[in-house]
């Protein structure tokens, strides 16, 4: 039995790995398609033909693309993300702190939004058809229908400019206490919660309702089980797979999808870093950021799959 799980998990990991290889291939070649000659951009005003030629040689830009790709991949595997074109710092140093910022924001948002979304989704499913259920449904539809920059800007205006409860920026302040931390993360987290919760609520509700329609739930009802018991002991464990999947998909948004929130709250995460990198044509930085996003996505999805496998006794 355990062998079976192991082989399933391994096959999921293998699939993720294959996808990652495809992704790295795509990322590398897509970025090299960006217009502008790297050497010319780097040299700027000093871009004499000889200098460009020299630099191209030095950077192996004239090598066939596949060699450059392999060199890049080998570097990545050794933990060498390359050197930024824009300021000649190691890409790893540039990403480091900001990646932690991104993870922090994502973490706080996840801690906040996942319980809320699951609670709303599950309770709505429990009280299917009730006024509460309808209210939740309408709310989620309403929330996913508003562009996030509207939510963010409105939140800033209300909470920061008028009420002055919360700071308008999320990083300008030094964090000294927990309340300070909460204050600082409040608005981006609220905004992101709005953005990612709706989908989680919908999926959770649908998954729970689906299991509520199964014979074993009817069976539990016929044993005299109470509603909460039916939902938490019988429906939920079996809806775990799709719910975890929905959560993983929503959380993956917190890596690269938060660009608008990062922009509005001036939060220095990696999404903004990548936008900067695109503007400065900083290929090593673009590639590394893109790889981080894809890797994050794959990790989340794969983790969700593995959780689903482990939570299912039939596969265990």
């Amino acid at each position: 039995m355990n062998n079976r799980v192991l082989s399933l998990v391994l096959s999921r990991l293998l699939i993720a790995l294959i996808t990652l290889v495809i992704v790295s291939f795509a990322v590398f070649f897509a970025t090299t398609l960006l217009p502008g000659d790297t050497a010319t951009i780097l040299l700027g005003q000093a871009a004499t033909p000889e200098a460009v030629e020299g630099l191209r040689k030095a950077m192996h830009l004239d090598d066939p693309a596949i060699f450059r790709f392999l060199r890049w991949i080998v570097g990545l595997l050794q933990g060498d993300l390359g050197t930024s074109y824009a300021n000649e710092m190691p890409v790893a140093d540039l990403i480091g702190g900001r990646f932690i910022n991104t993870l922090q924001l994502a973490g706080v948002t996840a801690l906040f939004s996942v319980p809320i979304a699951l609670t709303l989704g599950i309770t709505a499913a429990m009280l299917r058809g009730s006024l509460y259920d309808r209210a939740v449904t309408v709310l989620t539809i309403g929330v996913i229908s508003v562009p996030e920059f509207m939510i963010a800007t409105s939140a800033v205006l209300i909470f920061a400019v008028y009420l002055k409860w919360l700071p308008a920026l999320s990083f300008a302040n030094e964090v000294t206490s927990l309340t300070e931390l909460l204050r600082i993360y409040a608005m981006p987290v609220i905004t992101l919660t709005f953005v990612i919760s709706a989908q989680m609520i919908r999926m959770t509700r649908a998954a729970v309702i689906e299991t509520l329609n199964t014979p074993y739930v009817e069976m539990a009802l016929l044993k005299g089980a109470s509603r909460p018991r039916i939902v938490f002991r019988h429906a939920l464990p079996n809806a775990l797979g799709p719910i975890v999947n929905a959560v993983a998909l929503s959380l993956s948004y917190l890596l690269g999808g938060v660009i608008i929130v990062e922009t509005i709250f001036n939060y220095p995460g990696i999404a903004k870093l990548m936008v900067d990198a695109v503007a400065t044509r900083d290929l090593p930085l673009i590639q590394s950021c893109a790889m981080i996003f894809c890797l994050g996505y794959l990790l989340l999805i794969t983790a969700a799959d593995i959780i689903a496998i482990l939570s299912n006794p039939r596969l265990r």
Binding site: A30, L34, S145, F149, L157, V278
Partner: protein, 287 residues
């Protein structure tokens, strides 16, 4: 019982006679969608002022008899801009969602029917595509080839093909396991026939619902991309761009920023309502 009364009333409203049951919420959704579709088609004929013309010396003007929805940050008539914006938002999103769903569904059905390594390769490839954050993907594409309507449409479609593919493949795999597919296979039918005549008719319902949800996502992504500065060429603007360019009016509650937001919300909410309340074919067995 009172139940019976309300039932008959509902029957009367929703016109059961067509053989479909369609509740009032779904009809409201459909009406709003049709409204915007008509606006999109006839916008040039009904706009009160030319879209690019500055007609109000003030900016972020309030609602008035001359300017029903006030004026924008340059003093242009907001009503005209929103009516024309419907063309871009509805048009681009519709084109993108059509391309995305068509390609995604075709590929998904093909993968399900073909199976084997073709299925694996396609699935991996589209998974990889899916892992790239959509807005950043949009930014890179626009940095690479510039922003124009075809580029926008294609970018949006490419972003949403993997989702449509996954969805359609999952459905098609289920259908593919059905005996009637086996029957058709051993009849000697071609893959194309299987896809077109046996699988497609059975997944078209959920696919249409999926298309609706994807449409909403595309509308929102389009406005997100507009926020990041990618969008249609001036003086025209899609709704997202209208919100973006007038966001300075938000502190004053200017109609210039509220109206396009409501337009987006009305469209997306309506599509959602319609999908959640699609007309159901009545299948009372009358034997």
């Amino acid at each position: 019982m009172t139940m019976t009364n309300s039932e008959t009333k509902a029957d009367r409203i929703s016109g059961t006679r067509l053989g479909y049951r369609f509740n009032i919420i779904g009809m409201v959704g459909l009406s709003v969608i049709l409204f915007w579709a008509l606006i999109a088609i006839f916008a040039p004929l009904i706009i009160p002022y030319p879209v690019g013309e500055i007609v109000d010396l003030d900016y972020f003007g309030p609602m008035s008899r001359d300017f029903w929805l006030g004026s924008d940050y340059l003093g242009r008539d907001m009503l005209s801009r929103i009516l024309m914006g419907a063309r871009y938002t509805v048009g681009i999103s519709l084109a993108a969602v059509t391309i995305a769903c068509f390609s995604g569904v075709m590929l998904g059905m093909f993968a399900a029917v073909a199976g084997g390594w073709l299925d694996t390769v396609l699935s991996r490839f589209l998974d990889a595509l899916n892992s790239i954050p959509s807005k950043l993907f949009g930014l890179v594409v626009v940095a690479a080839v510039g922003s124009s309507i075809p580029v926008l449409i294609l970018t949006l479609s490419v972003i949403y093909i993997p989702g449509a593919y996954r969805f359609a493949r999952a459905l098609a795999v289920n259908i593919n396991a059905m005996d009637f597919i086996t029957v058709a296979r051993i009849r000697g039918e071609s893959t194309l026939y299987l896809i077109r005549s046996e699988i497609l008719p059975n997944i078209v319902g959920p696919v249409l619902a999926d298309l609706g949800i994807r449409f909403v996502f595309i509308v929102l992504l389009l406005s997100g991309l507009s926020f990041l500065g990618l969008g249609v060429q001036p003086p025209y603007a899609d709704w997202g761009a209208l919100v973006r360019e007038n966001i300075g009016g938000l502190p004053f509650g200017a109609p210039a920023v509220m109206a396009p937001s409501f337009a987006i919300a009305s469209l997306t909410i309506s599509v959602n309502l319609l999908i959640d309340n699609l007309p159901k074919k009545i299948r009372d067995r009358s034997e």
